[in-house]
């Protein structure tokens, strides 16, 4: 304390070694978005400045995440404990390849959404705080990916949740209020379950640091004992709710089509994937024995999620609701990776998460453009978009193929890995479910393409005929702000499909970093582990 003459050996409690400037990159993503969000909040009334400021900060976020990824690849896992306290006492940010990869992809998607939002969010939406909420949502998302403390993870979940509420009710429409009630209540119950499990974990081990927990759980004689099994089951339920896995998935199709389409795009890309990430982090890093114990349950949930998602998508005629079910089907694939649990399977799940973040955001953006062109989200009223823009039709086909897992796009490789891992683990049904779900998703996406793009006009148009679409329906397309983000995301989809080596290496490194977490533990506790 200041002004006191008592001398104390601070090195007992605090890290006195100097911190390299580069390690500050660990907090940069959260810090940039908090500062940007606060600044946008203060300038809420200035609706012209908001997009520039928001997009600027999101661009900065991408740069910071990229720099952090390069640093992690160079130096291995980086830890920074807030306030210089020695772990496990301070709140630690521990950045490994898994966290930073997802954080980087998430920030790219958020940047694209920020640009897309400049065209689709009107000045009322901006005054209600689209950009501040988007930035604060990214604070939560990046914080959740980068933190090394389980209670801190809870706090980031709440940060992203409260921002998502703000985004969800941006226009205050009746339908939005309806969706927000369901989304809000169920997600709040989910985070409360998360908190219960965390409290019990603290009661058992007296620590909340993930690395410390991993060590203490590994030191147990019977790591699948009763109390810990309860904790694991609670975590599974909580994160399954966040990730929208069957049977706790119904909030997603009830709410994701209600907000502004760019908000839907961000949600579909990021929120459920944060749940999956937390599931991977906790079940693979901290509770590996409980994961093995629950593998059959997780596999069953994964199969059910894969099939509900795909069949649900087939039964919809509203494009955004259809895409909501496609999101759920993707969650099933990632859960399949967690169920198998080998390094290969986890790397497949990570790659799939990256693919799903990009492609789902792009698809929702494409749905928004379809609405602008065709004046509807309904497959019965859409039609003839091919003659409006052949290039857009091609882009949508690429995205539809990618999300179904067809080559040569980004969904193909993670699906190959996951099916391979499932079969070699002896879980034939799981592998089969992934393939069947992929097939059904192909049908659903193909149907969207045939009805909205290939058919000459709205329902009832005879084959081969074309009906001139009333040109003035929908909002005028505002050029680059709409096409640039979709173009960037589609380019990434194609790139990860044709050149998967880079992402394969990242996801393999991320997976092996938590399946054998020696590097993670050493980064937190120094060389003594």
């Amino acid at each position: 304390m200041a002004g006191s003459s008592v001398s104390v050996d601070l090195s007992q409690a605090m890290n006195t070694a100097p911190i390299a400037l580069g390690d500050w990159l660990v907090v940069a993503p959260s810090l940039i978005t908090i500062l940007g969000g606060a600044l946008c909040l203060m300038l809420r009334k200035n609706t012209d400045l908001q997009p520039k400021l928001g997009i600027g900060f999101l661009g900065l976020l991408v740069v910071a995440n990229l720099a952090l990824l390069i640093r992690v690849l160079d130096h291995g896992v980086i830890t920074m404990v807030m306030g210089s306290w020695l772990p496990p006492f301070g709140i630690a940010f521990t950045v490994d390849t898994l966290g930073i990869t997802l954080s980087l992809i998430g920030s790219i998607v958020a940047f694209c959404a920020g640009v897309f939002g400049a065209a689709t969010v009107d000045s009322t939406g901006r005054r209600y705080g689209f950009y501040p909420f988007l930035l604060l949502l990214m604070t939560g998302v990046c914080g959740a990916f980068l933190t090394g403390d389980i209670f801190n993870l809870y706090v980031w979940f709440e940060v992203l949740l409260i921002s998502s509420y703000g985004l969800l009710v941006l226009g205050n429409d009746r339908i939005q209020l309806d969706g927000a009630v369901k989304y809000g209540v169920l997600n709040l119950i989910g985070t409360n379950l998360f908190l219960i499990a965390t409290g019990m974990l603290y009661g058992i081990f007296g620590t909340l640091n993930m690395a410390d927990l991993a060590l203490k759980v590994a030191a147990l004689e019977n790591p699948a004992s009763g109390t810990l099994a309860t904790v694991a089951a609670l975590y599974f339920l909580a994160f399954a709710m966040k990730a929208a896995a069957f049977p706790v998935n119904f909030w997603l199709p009830a709410s994701y089509h209600t907000p502004n389409v760019v908000v839907s795009a961000v949600f579909a890309g990021l929120l459920t994937k944060v749940g999956v990430y937390a599931l991977i982090r906790i079940f693979v890093l901290i509770l590996p024995a409980s994961r093995g114990y629950m593998a059959d349950v997780i596999a069953l949930v994964a199969i059910a999620t894969l099939l509900t998602g795909a069949i649900g998508a087939l039964a919809q005629s509203e494009v955004r609701r259809l895409l909501g079910y496609v999101v759920i089907a993707g969650i099933g694939s990632m859960l399949a990776g967690v169920a198998v649990g080998s390094t290969l399977a986890i790397s497949g799940a990570i790659f799939y998460a990256v693919h799903s973040i990009i492609v789902m955001t792009a698809l929702y953006m494409a749905a928004g453009i379809m609405n602008m062109m065709g004046g509807s989200y309904d497959l019965r009223q859409l039609g003839g978009l091919y003659q409006k823009s052949a290039a857009f039709a091609a882009v949508f086909l690429v995205l539809g193929f990618a999300v179904s897992g067809l080559p040569p796009f980004s969904g193909f490789w993670p699906k190959v890995i996951l099916v391979d891992a499932a079969f070699s683990d002896g879980r034939t049904w799981l592998g089969a479910a992934i393939l069947v779900s992929g097939f059904l998703t192909t049908l659903a996406m193909g149907r969207v393409w045939i009805f909205a793009f290939w058919r000459g006009g709205p329902e009832g148009t005879t084959d081969g005929e074309t009906v001139a679409i009333s040109g003035e329906t929908g909002t005028q397309l505002s050029g680059a702000a709409v096409w640039l983000p979709l173009g960037i995301l589609t380019a990434l989809v194609v790139y990860f499909g044709l050149q998967p080596e880079w992402m394969l290496e990242l996801s393999t490194q991320g997976a092996s970093g938590i399946v054998e977490p020696l590097g993670y533990l050493r980064s937190v506790f120094g060389g003594q582990v």
């Binding site: 706090v155 949740l161 309806d178 709410s255």
Partner: protein, 125 residues
């Protein structure tokens, strides 16, 4: 003392779950509020209960003289209270707005986002 508190927590959870199973939005929200309190008590009890020794360090010392109550769960609970309080406030406003706009607080009747008689998707061209 822990066992007494544990029974109390159990009662809290019971009441919370009962209320959350209701169809009225207001009751669900009350259930969530009670659930939040149950969770806070649970975390607090998980930090082991110690009576009458606040974790405050006197001015002239650097470490507490005697064993004190565990400060960490208090910090955790404070964080959780802040968060659940703000969420509850938000959801209350949201529920009120929903009641005004949708004219009902029964969740079964909130079918605007997912209409009850949805048309089947197009079967063919």
């Amino acid at each position: 003392m822990e066992s007494g508190v544990v029974i109390l927590i159990g009662m809290f959870f019971t009441v919370a779950v009962y209320l959350m199973l209701s169809k009225q939005l207001v009751r669900i929200l009350l259930g969530i509020a009670i659930l939040g309190n149950a969770v806070n008590l649970l975390i607090f009890t998980n930090g082991r209960l110690t009576r009458e020794v606040p974790p405050l360090i006197p001015d002239h010392l650097y470490a507490p003289e005697t064993a004190t109550a565990n400060p960490l769960p208090q910090a955790l609970v404070l964080t959780a209270i802040v968060i659940s309080f703000s969420f509850f406030a938000f959801l209350l406003v949201l529920a009120f707005r929903a009641y005004q706009e949708l004219g009902t607080d029964e969740v079964d009747e909130m079918r605007i986002a997912e209409p009850e008689h949805d048309q089947t998707p197009p079967q063919g061209y």
